[in-house]
Symmetry: C2
Amino acid sequence: MKTYSLNSQVQLFRFGNPVRTDSLSYPEEAMELQPEPFKIPFFNESFEEKSVTLKGRLKKTDKVLGLGESVGSVNKRGRWIESYATDDPIHTPDKSSLYGAHNYLFITGDEHHGFYIDFPGKVIYDIGYHHPDEIEIKIEGLDFDLYHFKHDSLKNTIKLFRMLQGEGYVPPKWAFGNQQSRWSYETADIVKEVADTMRKKGLPCDAIYLDIDYMEDYKNFTVDETRFPDFGTFVDEMKNDGFRLIPIIDAGVKVEKNYQVYEEGVNNHYFCKNEKNEPFLAAVWPGWVHFPDFQIPEVRKWFGHKYEVLTDFGIEGFWNDMNEPAIFYTEEKMKEFIDKVKSLEGKNLNLQEYFELNRCYEALAGDEKDYKNMFQKIDGQMISHHQIHNLYGYNMTRAAAEGLRELAPNKRHLLFSRSSYTGMGRYAGLWTGDNHSWWEHIPLMLKMMPALNMGGFMYIGADIGGFGGDTNAALLIRWSQASLLTPLYRNHSAKYTRSQEPYAFDEKTTDTMRKVLELRYSLIPYIYSEYMKATLNQDLYFKLLSFEYEDDHSKEIEDQLLVGESIMIAPVYEENAKGRYVWVPEEMLLWKTVINHQDEFQVVSKGHHYMHLEMEETSLFVRKNKMIILAEPAQNVDSMDFTALTVLAFVEDTATYYYYDDDGESMNYKTNKANGMMVKITLIKDQYEIDVSQIGESKVHRLNLMIANVKGELVEYSYDVKNQQLI
Amino acid sequence: MKTYSLNSQVQLFRFGNPVRTDSLSYPEEAMELQPEPFKIPFFNESFEEKSVTLKGRLKKTDKVLGLGESVGSVNKRGRWIESYATDDPIHTPDKSSLYGAHNYLFITGDEHHGFYIDFPGKVIYDIGYHHPDEIEIKIEGLDFDLYHFKHDSLKNTIKLFRMLQGEGYVPPKWAFGNQQSRWSYETADIVKEVADTMRKKGLPCDAIYLDIDYMEDYKNFTVDETRFPDFGTFVDEMKNDGFRLIPIIDAGVKVEKNYQVYEEGVNNHYFCKNEKNEPFLAAVWPGWVHFPDFQIPEVRKWFGHKYEVLTDFGIEGFWNDMNEPAIFYTEEKMKEFIDKVKSLEGKNLNLQEYFELNRCYEALAGDEKDYKNMFQKIDGQMISHHQIHNLYGYNMTRAAAEGLRELAPNKRHLLFSRSSYTGMGRYAGLWTGDNHSWWEHIPLMLKMMPALNMGGFMYIGADIGGFGGDTNAALLIRWSQASLLTPLYRNHSAKYTRSQEPYAFDEKTTDTMRKVLELRYSLIPYIYSEYMKATLNQDLYFKLLSFEYEDDHSKEIEDQLLVGESIMIAPVYEENAKGRYVWVPEEMLLWKTVINHQDEFQVVSKGHHYMHLEMEETSLFVRKNKMIILAEPAQNVDSMDFTALTVLAFVEDTATYYYYDDDGESMNYKTNKANGMMVKITLIKDQYEIDVSQIGESKVHRLNLMIANVKGELVEYSYDVKNQQLI
């Protein structure tokens, strides 16, 4: 083991000779080799033949945060987690692995320690699961980088980690609008009907998704001409109606003679191999597929450029799926299964045999053994996929991001992925995969959001309404309200489940959904501003209350979040509930919208409150001496008017807000082509002093200011931004 | 349809010619045929070829309660539920059927309506699932009884229904002690070790369970002599150590030449048949089995008497399992599956074929088609099991109860079942089946308890710590605390899961568990008294707050319960939480126990509260002008001293309590051999007047009284019951 210091707060412990993951992006010069090795803080390490174990003791008050996409509370104490990307569509509370592998954790109590284990194989975390006071991390390999971060606060400790990753992914502004999906809108006519209904019902929407059925036999980079005739024209028509189409891309390439992607892959040895050095064969949606070896830079380039087939049609966004990679079965497993089944014919099974049959069936899909028998090339050497399993989706998505960048250097694309590894947040967003229409999956979403942010995943969201199973009107509404500020806002559901578009229920539900979606669109200036600032500054967009408030109670709350610098959310997520308890850590302004009523504003004192909230009501809290920026909702983001905005402020003495904006579509933000404004509101002897200064070539001409003071008195002003005066 | 009036509050709508279920037990003379048929209240009925549908409209404020064992909130609005007994061990929030079929529901709002559909086939409930304001019930048959109940309150409406069932099941008193189970304690040595460890660690316990492995090849009414040599002696030894052994009995009888139960069943035509009139063949734990046709009174008698094999060994309690009946596969299904699999050999499966394979596999177990192909005899006529499916577990358990009654007419046995139908509550208890070690399954338990009570299921409980999956120390503790007052208190877990006995974790956890169990045992006088009063008077043991408090907030609360007449519980069930919010509907006395500390008593005002509650703390609330009766804990119920008890009272002015007790083991309670006492405490000018009158031959000699007033002042007295004076 060698130890390096990156700066006074970051140390690197290098075990053996790690595979290069590129998950962090700091310059190698920053690494300063230490002549005398440091001891790893907090943990004691022990070496086994093929693994390393880190053991530490937790104090009663220590919390363990991080680990991104995983079930359970934000504080992971009591949990067993395995970092091993898994396509598991049943996110019950006992699942140890989901789609992503996020090896960062923060131990916070009297001190704040951050750790990041840069290792693409399996890592197992026992966080007080076996013994309530012990944490044990087993890295299934001898070659990895262990980073340690230490700062005076949890927030700053996380930032140290985020800084090493570099700047996060920035989607186009329209990607913050409402998006409608389903497995599948199978034909152009169906897509058109969804779009028309959204408009007819006045439900704002920016994008409609194409799941696997748009393809010809599930072949990547093809479009089925029967179901989507003249695709380019259709894409244009839809765009004219204000909808982008977002096709899915899967990891596996269908094995089919004369299918160009397949032929090129085989001829150029672009696919992962089996032990005989033949392309590895697995079955997914198209039947047999090969998996591109995204570990090879040339393959990433090749695959990334394939997206051009669709961008040439006018497509501007993609979602990468099945990239754990998901496997339904392999030849070997299917043979084993068929042999097992045949051997049972005519037998009276005993319990052992019956269990064995079940085991064999369950092992068909996504078994570790298959990943061990698949091989990828690193620097010319073949290595078992198992050892770098967690990089697969990350490198597929990196391939897409880099390809799209080359195809259109100054254009942003919408891109997000199901599987991920730390660092993918620089290339794309992610969605939390195949959740269910369960009430319990609303709080699961709320708990994953801050944990993902800690790892630099910023453009994130869950399938609103739930993917698997059948939702109902109440669940869709409460979920849509709870997602009010998630960057990725998408309603998506599975084949064979009930329709769950916002208009799929009764008129009252449609009315409620319209109100929720309009509120979402109103908030887009704020959402975009906060997203961009957090992403460009390696800050958090979703924060636990404890990141800003030091009282004991704020330390325990996991189902309320601070979103951006001005808002606290406390969504209702219980079936048939008419409200919920809220901890208000300082005086705040509660804003409720209700259908067919005027909005309500109410100053809420510091303390515990029961917030009554009917189905038709959506709420958010504005923090003290903070403000939010709003626009008029419209049918989609492109048609919104960002020149006349509204400021809603809750002012005790002084509130300042930096409103970030830019063109929303180019990469010019990299060279600081931001525009926007600084708004300062000062309360001096019952009078508000308003100071607005423009930044860059601001689009804002006029501001409507709604300012509440701590007595709950609300005043409104109109402000001419160009002339810097009230009107 | 004929309509009958049972009394002014109960009407019966008889559709066609229903199968007699015996689920209710009122005399036929009570039925008064109405010359002019009534209209069914609330619903409109419509007839299809093979089914009847009832449709009604829900007002916004209407709640729909009942339906016993089902997932989701207590208020079932928004749910789709199918009454069809199902062995499904994954109780995710989307499941429409569990083990029991409980066709009672109460619609409560401005008015209170109760309905009970006495139909043993499938009934489907759409309770605002398709349309938020509509309720639709489809009865899959033309012959059934529909009862309507109407009273001035929900509580009284439920009582009308309960009264028609008659008196509930009464277990022996020791069955309220702590019980320890696992699939499986496989040998006598292992059982002994569990028992010894419980005693060594000072963990009170009354019973240890024997899961399927105690049997010889899973054959009912056999004991494996290798694993349990000299079983009778072992049962005695264990009893001397203070433990009863509780063996499992399964529904299916192993097909095995010379196995007596099998031979008798075949020879006497006691088994369910297939369409060729041969015994129906299905595979469960033992491989091939036949299912006794419990619809035939002679079969019930035969099977019920078989329990004698085990009572002869000294066994005093049983749990009936797999009686939906669970089917792993049938010959036909396995053949279909094997053929399907063989047909796939060497093929590149397309999506359709892949789905079909999955479907075929999933259809192996417990498919409706199998139940349709099984036949039972009613009054000499063969009828498809599907039509009376929901009676199977009920009649198996009735067979056991009636058999045990005949074997020992004046002795109570512990008996509970997995599958159930309304009315089974007169014969036995039930447990909620194969739950999981998920935090979410604590509130699921809390929500099922009052819903089961409404249907007359009184001796109930969930597997504490969770059956499937791995628990951890925190989950076990919180679950044990939340179950503090459930009549059936059993820790049970599945094969291949982590050990979860109360001593299976660290010492701190054992200490906490000891404190929780001791509190449980302290409460046994109260639990028993309240259980008996509720059961004998057709009242509720578990009640929603709204049954006693009329404020708006009490109407919404589902995760706090009134248990018996004096206690409110508000358990902590969130992972890593250090407390919870509690609605206190009137001034109450909060009692907290903490390990290694004196108990804390605190008067809590009416209103919303955040209750801090560390893992080491257990809490309950004593209602105003109510009291609870406590005893000293001991290693088991038999060794408890019920002669010296403690009264904990919270008195504003006058509190009265009827403490019920009896011999705890005989059936003499039927002839009113109750004993106990009436305790009355009156506060007059800062002085408590204490009045204790004995009932029957009371065992109580001495009372320790702890009385808190509304200022939180606690005073203690000793009271000599015989001499009726303070000492």
